[in-house]
């Protein structure tokens, strides 16, 4: 019977060597909340599991010159408890917090959520909106990659066989910046997003948007970074006209499918609804009107 091997290297080099040298399918294990489900259902049959959690720095959060660096395998619960991340990136934190149950929060990681490459991953639209950078390590050394360049198709990433993500860098936050994430699910918890939307904005003193990024999830084969939706915000305050244009731009970007979680028609409509609601929260946060998570 085929054997499944396991290794828990304590250095990046060792991990890279294991991945490079694997004869069959090698999978990186962080929180395991997707991988173990896929293995149990028979959808994924790896030959080697490389548990990266022993690598120094891969779990934890540090501040570097006004920006935050979050270890790739840091559990959601640790990020949610971090005051600095909550203040600077409440949208990223609330998106991560929406992945699964409290139990899942004890294990799930940003890297796992990104590299599982599901279009419905909750933290990913918020990561895209945040403009986070993935620090990738591998046989050819270390490279910094914008997060939106990691997933390429459902279940596929741009990472080479011997590469994995070590940490995420979040850029320094200008004054009057705010981000937010909402997803729509049929229940209040425990569902996969039917649509997810993350928005990050920076405003001037008059409340006019000077920079924006909009991420949309579950409406296309990968999470989308929607430039037209960001352009609908930039140069405007959040009035009815802007909201209407944002709604339209979000809907126009959708290329969803009909499946058990939602129809094309429904997903498209809700993408517009969520974009409006998320923008309102992000703008409020940028103006210092509200703090903290939404649920």
């Amino acid at each position: 019977m085929p054997t499944l091997n396991y290794a828990a290297p304590s250095t990046v080099d060792e991990a890279v060597k294991l991945l490079a040298g694997a004869s069959g399918l090698a999978k990186v294990l962080s929180g395991g909340t997707d991988l173990l489900v896929q293995m149990r259902s028979g959808r994924m049959k790896p030959d080697l599991i490389v548990d990266t959690k022993m690598i120094p720095g891969i779990i934890g959060i540090r501040e570097e010159g006004g920006s935050f660096v979050v270890g790739a395998a840091t559990p959601g619960a640790v990020v949610e408890a971090h005051a600095g991340m909550n203040k600077a990136w409440p949208g990223v934190v609330e998106a991560l917090d929406l992945i699964g149950s409290t139990q899942i929060q004890g294990r799930c990681s940003l890297a796992g959520n990104l590299c599982n490459a599901s279009p419905a991953a909750d933290s990913v639209p918020a990561l895209y909106a945040a403009g986070a950078i993935a620090v990738v390590v591998g046989g050819k050394g270390r490279r910094e990659v914008p997060v939106e360049q990691i997933p390429t198709a459902p279940g596929r990433t741009s990472l080479a066989k011997d590469e994995f993500i070590l940490e995420f860098k979040f850029p320094p936050r200008p004054p009057r910046s705010g981000d937010a994430y909402l997803r729509f699910i049929p229940r209040t918890e425990m569902d996969i997003a039917v649509v997810g939307c993350g928005i990050s904005v920076t405003l001037n003193e008059q409340g006019v948007c000077t920079a924006a990024r909009v991420g949309l999830g579950a409406v296309a084969p990968t999470v989308l970074l929607v430039k037209d939706a960001a352009d609908a915000l930039i140069g405007h305050t959040l009035d009815a006209d802007t909201l209407g244009k944002l709604d339209a731009a979000a809907r126009a970007a959708c290329k969803p499918i009909n499946d058990k979680r939602g129809t094309i028609e429904y997903r498209t409509k809700v993408a517009g609804v969520l974009a409006r609601r998320v923008a309102a929260i992000a703008f409020d946060r940028a103006m210092g009107k509200s703090q903290g998570k939404t649920h």
């Binding site: 019977m1 028979g42 729509f184 049929p186 229940r187 918890e189 425990m190 499946d259 609804v273």
Partner: protein
């Protein structure tokens, strides 16, 4: 003895259940928790096709895999002839059950068992399953109930001819049975009506979704003596089915009930036990089998989905003069949907002059349905109670008032025959009307709905024993698996009859060799029927204790009174003796005739029907179509609540299952006839954050046929919720959602259509 109107000290209180500590500390042993020396693991190979002829099964490669001990297919099991079974809950045929456990000739749904293997580990079982080579001839399939009724539909069973149709059909079809009830003249009734409402309603199959997957551990001895340890709603049911399906004498099978991790009707039949025992027979070792969650969804019973039409006609004053209901229920791959009770329950709450009900039991390429809490009634009542709400609106009447005006009373003759006796429908409505919830104002944008439900409740065969231990403590023995606290209620009734504290009675559930036959835990029958047997056993023990006291005092038993758990001389003429406690009598039992003990078996009749009325408030997010339940109250006539906490729990749990059925639960099929959501991720049961507190209001109209007045309570609460939620949504957004589940995409779509945005 009847205790109605007497002062009770135990019944109606809330003691800690006897099995409670085991269940909060992880010690309780459920179906998958038992091990035996030399135990093997067993697993099932299942059809990937919705409908396929099995051409061949080659297990030779699997049998060569190290660690594999045996493989079985239908060829290893007796070929069972058609015979109606009255073993579980609802209709079942032994041949169909046998073929549901293991496909013979044809696989009739995706997930249908075609072979089983046992091996030294689960991982080897999994590998062996992949090595079993099954050749299929894939056939056209049909999933939808109305498609299955069409003339050109793929036929599942060549020998199935619609029953109850004259003349007998000459062609086989997927319509297994026609059910028809008529009272009065419905067409004449509609002619008298001032107002008529009509509606077409659909529901999807929903699963019982007990959290514990089916599991068993079975051992076949070389002498033919078998032991079965399994999680079920009736270990006698397991014994009967396994004996019949494998051709074993019933007395050679001993079934021990594991703790059962939920059933709701879905564990009133067998899936794994016959296979595990057949594997054990073949390899000579005990075999443990447990389903995965995916197998539970794909291969064990959901309840029917249905398509229905309802038509109601009323006079201007709200008097309903005609009611018509057509119901088409999916049975799954074999006949036996709960169409019969569905046809009975829809109008059972009402006293109507003219009723016509027509039902169809329809097979299609889905898992065979199993009983689910008040089988058939929730589906029927969804349609009727929504239509009645529409009728009340059209008449400008209050929805409780129209129900009171047409409500069934003692003496009302039902359309299916019996006349209601001692029922509490109007009392239930009255309690709903007087509830704080019904009187409270709604916030802007919210909607409120009410709906009601009826369930027969059943009695039947039950056994219980009461043993007095040497120190005067008491063991009560029940034949009913305890699925939701019945050890507590049985022990309390025994304690009440003995007039001792509940804590002095330890209640256990005995195996099939240790207590008399007892029908399944289903039909809301345990507290009624097994409770009756246990009470009678306790009363016989009281008689014996009085005799023993009389012997000790050397007076006649008639001269002994039993109160406060002690024997007293009945009066001054009986003599002057200090009272004898239960412990004192027990201590002297050897000298007064031996152990004090009694076992009683009954075939209990007179289970009083139950009625419920549920009030629901909702908020609807009009942009996403999401419905939030903001307040919920469930009123129910429970006869007499033995342990009120567990009665409330039944009501709250049933209501929440109904809320799930109303809003998000459904079987979703892909284009190949395969279930697309076989897990708790996409089969969306309510989670804690979806819900408010569920207020349970207990109405107590005693059932005179039970010693303490109890009625069954477990099933009624799942009947009203779908219509209560639907009527609340109707109130909030002005639209009738006639198709379950009322999920966000459907609500948003309905709003868009109504706004002309679609």
């Amino acid at each position: 003895m009847n205790y109605l109107g007497t002062d009770l000290r135990v019944v109606g209180t809330r003691p800690v259940r006897p099995d409670g500590v085991d269940k909060v500390t992880g010690r309780a042993q459920f179906g998958a928790d038992m091990v035996m020396p030399g135990m093997l693991w067993g697993k099932v190979k299942r059809s990937p096709h919705a409908h396929a002829r099995i051409v061949s099964i080659d297990a030779s490669k699997a049998l060569k895999l190290p660690g594999v001990r045996a493989v079985i297919t239908a060829a290893d099991l007796p070929n069972i002839e058609s015979e109606e079974a009255f073993v579980g809950e609802g209709p079942m045929n032994f041949r169909d059950l046998s073929r549901n456990c293991m496909a013979r000739d044809k696989a009739l749904y995706e997930g249908h068992a075609v072979a089983a293997v046992c091996a030294i580990s689960q991982a080897i079982c999994d590998e062996a399953l992949e090595l079993i080579d099954v050749k299929y001839d894939v056939l056209p399939y049909v999933i939808d109930v109305e498609d299955a009724m069409k003339d050109d539909a793929p036929v599942l069973h060549e020998d199935l001819f619609t029953a109850n149709v004259e003349p007998k059909p000459t062609k086989p079809s997927n319509i297994a049975k026609r059910v028809y009830f008529n009272k009065g003249d419905v067409e004449a009734g509609f002619k008298q009506a001032d107002v008529i409402v009509e509606g077409r309603y659909t529901t999807e199959p929903v699963h019982q979704a007990y959290i514990e997957p089916h599991a068993c551990l079975c051992s076949y001895g070389a002498d033919g003596q078998c032991t079965v340890f399994s999680s079920s709603q009736g270990h006698f049911m397991v014994r009967s089915y396994v004996a019949k399906l494998l051709g074993i004498d019933i007395s050679n099978i001993r079934c021990t009930p594991a703790e059962i991790g939920g059933g709701f009707g879905g564990k009133t039949l067998v899936y794994l036990e016959p296979l595990a025992l057949a594997l054990s027979k073949k390899c000579g070792r005990p075999v443990k089998m447990q389903m995965t969650r995916e197998e539970v969804f794909r291969a064990s019973g959901p309840t029917s989905g249905a398509t229905m039409e309802v038509k109601l006609g009323a006079k201007k004053d709200g008097t309903i003069v005609a009611a018509k209901h057509v119901l088409k229920y999916q049975a799954g791959a074999f006949p036996g949907s709960p169409i019969q009770p569905g046809c009975m329950c829809g109008f059972a709450m009402y006293d109507l002059p003219n009723i016509e009900v027509l039902g169809y039991d329809v097979v299609s390429n889905r898992p065979k349905v199993a009983a689910y809490r008040a089988p058939g009634a929730p589906i029927a009542s969804f349609a009727v109670e929504c239509a009645l709400d529409d009728l009340a609106r059209k008449l400008g009447m209050d929805p409780i008032e129209i129900r009171e005006k047409n409500g069934a009373k003692s003496g009302t003759k039902t359309h299916y025959g019996p006349t209601h006796q001692n029922i509490g429908y109007l009392a239930t409505l009255e309690a709903a009307k007087n509830s704080a919830h019904w009187k409270s104002p709604l916030k802007p944008g919210q909607g409120r709905g009410i709906a009601t439900g009826f369930w027969f409740n059943i009695g039947g065969e039950s056994s219980a024993a009461v043993h007095v231990a040497e120190d005067g403590t008491v063991v009560a023995v029940s034949g009913s698996p305890d699925i939701g606290g019945s050890r507590a209620s049985i022990g309390m009734m025994v304690a009440e009859a003995l007039q001792i504290p509940a804590e002095k009675v330890r209640t256990i559930v005995a195996d099939t060799a240790s207590i008399g036959f007892t029908h399944v835990t289903g039909g809301s029958r345990v507290t009624f029927a097994t409770g009756m047997a246990a009470t009678m056993a306790a009363e016989k023990v009281v008689d014996q204790l009085k005799q023993r006291a009389a012997m000790i005092w050397d007076i006649t038993p008639d001269a002994v009174d039993w109160r406060d758990g002690q024997a007293f001389p009945a009066g001054t003429n009986a003599g002057a003796f200090e009272p004898l406690s239960l412990a004192e009598i027990a201590l002297k039992a050897a000298r007064t005739g031996g152990p004090v003990t009694s076992e009683v078996s009954v075939n209990a009749q007179g289970a009083g029907p139950g009625f419920g009325a549920h009030i629901c408030d909702v908020e609807v997010d009009k942009e996403t179509g999401q419905v939030t339940i903001v307040r919920y109250t469930a009123v129910q006539d429970v006869g007499r609540a033995i342990h009120p906490s567990y009665v409330e729990g039944q009501i709250q749990g049933g209501a929440v299952q109904g809320i799930g059925w109303a809003l998000n639960e459904e079987y979703i099929y892909d284009k190949d006839g395969r279930m697309d959501n076989p897990g708790f991720l996409d089969y969306r049961c309510p989670v804690a954050s979806d819900l408010p507190m569920i207020e349970a209001i207990l109405v107590e109209v005693p059932n005179p046929r039970h010693p303490f007045g109890a009625r069954g309570v477990g099933e009624v609460p799942i009947i009203p919720p779908m219509a209560a939620v639907g009527n609340a949504i109707r109130d909030a957004i002005g639209l009738r959602m006639a198709s379950l589940p009322m999920s966000p995409p459907k609500v948003r779509k309905a709003l868009d259509v109504a706004n002309g945005d679609d």
